[in-house]
Symmetry: C2
């Protein structure tokens, strides 16, 4: 198994989370046609009103890397940047399980 | 959407991670027959040799809660406990995305 996983925490500026969630859901629907993207889920954490966690699973690291250079991704990052106060990432290597 | 998500970080005692991974993969295969478990993925993080992250998505909070009282879950928790130095959890509410 050569899959690649990612937890990305987006910290939104005060009052901007809902708008950022909509943008990330837009990104998620854009992923429907992206080869190698197995999972792209937008989550809100309990007890943290400014953050969003995105869960990603990719068929391998290179498909994820390639997705970052897609025009849609670049445009979305530009649009979202003003709403984002901080980003944290946990890079993962899936070992197996249900649903992948 | 009433789904429930969970990131669980297991910190293994020195030298015990591989054994703990095997147990969690066993738990994942047990989830194949568990109603409401959409995703249960065992991951190792980059740059952290003692930790494991498990990604879960459930159809709703109650199916997750019910799974904790399954005999298989209780037996596995007992077996795994001596290998575990610490546990951290991030509880999530999925808002949508690809793959769920």
């Amino acid at each position: 198994m050569n899959k690649f996983g990612l937890y990305t925490k987006f910290i939104a500026h005060e009052g901007q989370r809902d708008t950022l969630i909509e943008m990330l859901l837009e990104a998620a629907s854009g992923m429907e046609s992206v080869e190698g993207c197995d999972l792209y889920v937008v989550n809100i954490p309990e007890n943290d009103s400014n953050s969003i966690w995105v869960t990603e699973i990719w068929s391998d690291p290179s498909t994820h890397q390639a997705s970052l250079s897609l025009d849609e991704a670049k445009v979305l990052i530009q649009r979202a940047r003003p709403l984002i106060a901080g980003i944290e990432q946990i890079k993962l290597r899936p070992q197996g399980g249900k649903g992948i």
